[in-house]
């Protein structure tokens, strides 16, 4: 008797759909009942208005209405943002479980104690198996240290998943308290994709009211930028610029970018790829397995005879559908993918084991060996299995088999989002959410080489601010990627991975002092070559620039928009219309469809 499979089975065979008719009938009925309540008030109003002192009554009524709406508004927005339970079993990547949240600018809210029936966001993980762990971690997270001059302490990457749960912001830090800022890069796309999806079907107000937020760094990094590419045999190149901050006239915006080498696929030794595909019952939805099949056709197009392809599927059981096919056998591979059907439970751990075993069978020494896991995240397993999976992923990456995660239909946060991110983080790969054909095309075709090939792993950035020219600084985004300054040179501490041709952008809001002339900061980047365990160091210094590229302005427009979307307490004069204006000016002529799409989103938000 397997109760764990009950939900899947019901969803696939017994559930009834919410028809449009039912939905409309309900909304109509609700609006009608709402009007009834209003009507009673209105009737009294009407009687008043009909009386002779109409002007005076109208004035009184108007001011009453204004006061009432101000009060309601304050009451509603005055509530602390809902907090959530997490499966924070996804503890430190290096196994470090010290996860004190040092209170990076939490919006005036303190986490609940164990005894509260906690405020949770609509989409929190309520998987029974993870419940105990979330309570334990809530206790850990109740320890908060002061904001002021807080040393950048490690927040466990993966605990706050894009768009859900506790919204935290990096605060301004004074250089006299701590002039060094360290963080790991992030090339995941999930937060922006989910925001884009949500905003298409709800207003910004609804988005905010449901406790959602967008990860600014993931939004900025979603777009392609033309940064100077690395030369010679260096895998990365760093550039910096400093310009005006459009939402804070007292501040400057520091722009730090990393560009990864663009590999020439023709010159590579070929890849050994295992597609590990979730074919459990929950994958039957249109935006999951069917979308996956269409999207994978893109990926297959990019393979050649040098590549070796295998397909492993998992549902209630594990199946090796194809083993060791040549990348050039496109129809054989496509037929195998198109023949997949979704049904059954989700033996995620077994699937992963089998995929690694098949990858080992076809291991290319000195080549690129990678598992592409495609799932909606519904693992149906408890936290100890997640820990096992994580340890397995870590062990395997050390032996040269990496893991990238492709999320399909991860609309519902309960489907295990942060677990997916953790697997990718530990597997030296990115976590990409594919919600439509266009996104599938982008990830698996245009950017396939970034998905397949890592050019630099464990990339960490450390910025040292000049105490005599900078008074304080604030890192925009990367809240769940912060590292302690010691972690920077500790090669055992994991960082994000940069794929071929990928770029990473980080923005700091800086308050300068003493005229702010001269060097403002130094940037150090540590990274490892994909086949090495020893990190390399790269240094660069930054001062105010005369020439700011359109990339700088576009990125700052994205940042400005995110400040408004997140209703950040640091938003200053940020406005969506200004962001729209700048994004148009520096994005509308670009051939980049993603930028145009973003501009359209802003347009819709301000209309």
């Amino acid at each position: 008797m397997n109760l764990e499979q009950l939900k899947d089975y019901i969803d696939n065979h017994k559930s009834i759909p919410v028809t449009e008719e039912l939905k409309e009938k309900t909304i109509k009925a609700a609006l009608n009942s709402g009007i009834d309540i209003e009507d009673k008030k209105d009737n009294k109003f009407l009687k008043l208005i009909k009386s002779k002192n109409i002007n005076r009554i109208v004035a009184i009524a108007a001011s009453f209405a204004v006061t009432l709406s101000v009060v309601l508004y304050a009451v509603f927005f005055g509530f602390k943002k809902p907090q959530s339970n997490y499966d924070s079993e996804t503890s430190g990547i290096s196994g470090d479980t010290k996860d004190v949240d040092n209170g990076h600018g939490t919006e005036g809210s303190t986490p609940e104690t164990l005894n509260d029936v906690s405020e949770v966001t609509p989409g929190e993980i309520t998987n029974p198996a993870t419940q105990n762990l979330t309570k334990q971690n809530e206790a850990k997270q109740t320890r908060q240290t002061e904001h002021k001059g807080a040393a950048t302490t490690r927040i466990i990457p993966g605990t706050d998943k894009s768009g859900t749960g506790k919204f935290t912001e990096n605060p301004f830090v004074r250089t006299i308290d701590n002039n060094i800022s360290t963080f790991s890069i992030d090339v995941d796309t999930a937060s922006y994709v989910m925001f884009r999806r949500d905003i298409a079907r709800m207003s910004l107000q609804d988005f905010q009211r449901m406790g959602n937020f967008i990860r600014t760094e993931e939004a900025i990094n979603y777009f392609k930028y033309n940064y100077a590419k690395p030369t010679g045999d260096k895998p990365i190149a760093v550039t910096t610029a400093v310009g005006d901050c459009s939402w804070n006239p007292k501040a400057k915006l520091a722009f730090i970018t990393i560009a990864g080498k663009e590999l020439d696929l023709a010159k590579q030794n070929g890849s050994n790829i295992v597609f590990l595909i979730d074919v459990s019952g929950s994958m039957a939805d249109d935006d999951k397995l069917p979308l996956l099949k269409k999207s994978f056709a893109n990926a297959v197009e990019n393979l050649s005879a040098k590549d070796v392809v295998s397909i492993v599927t998992y549902s209630s059981s594990v199946n090796t559908v194809l083993a060791g096919a040549k990348g050039s056998e496109k129809s054989r591979i496509l037929n195998a993918i198109n023949s997949l059907n979704a049904s059954g439970g989700t033996a995620g751990a077994d699937g992963l084991n089998r995929a690694y075993s098949v990858a080992q069978d076809y291991f290319i020494k000195g080549g690129n060996n990678r598992i592409l896991l495609a799932t909606d995240g519904d693992f149906n397993i408890g936290p100890s299995s997640v820990k096992e999976m994580k340890n397995l992923v870590i062990k395997k990456r050390e032996s040269g088999i990496f893991l990238t995660v492709l999320g399909f239909g991860v609309n519902n946060i309960q489907s295990g989002d942060e677990r997916l991110e953790v697997l990718a983080d530990n597997g030296n790969g990115g976590y990409y959410v594919i919600d439509c054909l266009e996104e599938g095309e982008k990830v698996l075709n245009q950017q396939f080489s970034s998905v397949l090939y890592t050019v630099a792993k464990d990339v960490k950035i450390q910025v040292e601010f000049n105490k005599s020219t900078v008074d304080s600084y604030r890192l925009i985004g990367y809240e769940n990627r912060m590292l302690s300054n010691e972690d920077f040179s500790n090669d055992k501490v994991d960082g994000g991975d940069l794929g071929s041709g990928q770029t990473v952008t980080a923005l700091y809001e800086i308050i300068s002092k003493n005229s702010g002339e001269g060097e403002l900061f130094k940037v150090k980047v540590r990274y490892k070559n994909p086949d090495s365990d020893v990190s390399q160091l790269y240094e660069h210094s930054g001062k105010i620039s005369q020439n700011l590229t359109s990339d700088f302005y576009f990125a700052s427009a994205v940042a400005e928009a995110c400040l408004v979307i997140n209703n950040s307490k640091y938003k200053g004069n940020a406005s969506l219309s200004h962001a729209y204006e700048i994004a148009c000016e520096y994005g509308i002529t670009s051939a980049d469809k993603s930028r145009l799409e973003f501009i359209n989103i802003l347009k819709k938000l301000i209309s």
């Binding site: 008797m1 397997n2 109760l3 764990e4 499979q5 009950l6 939900k7 089975y9 019901i10 065979h13 017994k14 559930s15 009834i16 759909p17 919410v18 039912l22 939905k23 009938k25 309900t26 909304i27 009925a29 609700a30 609006l31 009942s33 709402g34 009007i35 309540i37 309601l72 509603f76 509530f79 602390k80 809902p82 339970n85 509260d116 029936v117 405020e119 949770v120 966001t121 609509p122 929190e124 309520t126 998987n127 029974p128 419940q131 079907r201 709800m202 207003s203 107000q205 609804d206 009211r209 449901m210 209630s316 049904s343 059954g344 309960q414």
Partner: protein
């Protein structure tokens, strides 16, 4: 607040939780029409209370609480009217009957489990639904049913044991009747 704004908020709420509410009611009452009625009631109530929702529990838990209470009301009035809700008729025989053969092999066990769950009394079934269909925590279930966390645990283990008995009874019954599949 304008109607348009409230309307779109309700619409977003339904998009997110509609299926969960509808199917929780459907599994509770085993009647599509009644489930749709409950669905409407739940969201109308939610609409009226949207502005005063204090986020002390999750939106999902709140909606499910309303759903369960609404279902219980339906049962009470149905009982009073002596209306037959239907599920009480399910007995062991029908659990093993006919259409199980038509079910795909890997689904036979799931189908049997499903029928076993549907044969439980509502007060027992709701525990299974809340725990395994809605995937709520023990605390959340406790707050919905107004009992202690410990009581939830106890009742849940009793119901699970009951289910096990029913299922092994089904297996025995199947073996005895020697059901075979039409095309293997």
């Amino acid at each position: 607040m304008s109607d348009g704004n409230m309307g779109s908020r309700l619409s977003a709420l339904i998009d997110e939780y509609g299926s969960c509410v509808l199917n929780t009611a459907y599994l509770y009452l085993n009647d599509r029409q009644l489930a749709e009625d409950v669905f409407q009631e739940v969201f109308i109530k939610a609409y009226l209370k949207m502005n005063t929702f204090e986020f002390r529990s999750s939106v999902k838990t709140w909606l499910i609480r309303i759903t369960i209470n609404q279902c219980k009301d339906v049962l009470k009035s149905a009982y009073k009217k002596r209306v037959n809700i239907g599920f009480e008729d399910i007995d062991c025989a029908s659990l093993c009957s006919g259409s199980v053969e038509e079910t795909a092999e890997e689904n036979i066990e799931n189908e049997m489990l499903y029928r076993a769950v549907m044969s439980l009394k509502p007060q027992h079934r709701e525990l299974i639904l809340l725990r395994y269909y809605n995937e709520l925590s023990l605390d959340e279930i406790a707050s919905i049913l107004n009992i202690s966390n410990g009581a939830v645990r106890t009742r849940l283990s009793r119901v699970t044991a009951e289910l096990k008995k029913i299922c092994s009874g089904q297996i025995a019954e199947n073996a005895r009747v020697n059901l075979t599949r039409a095309d293997t």
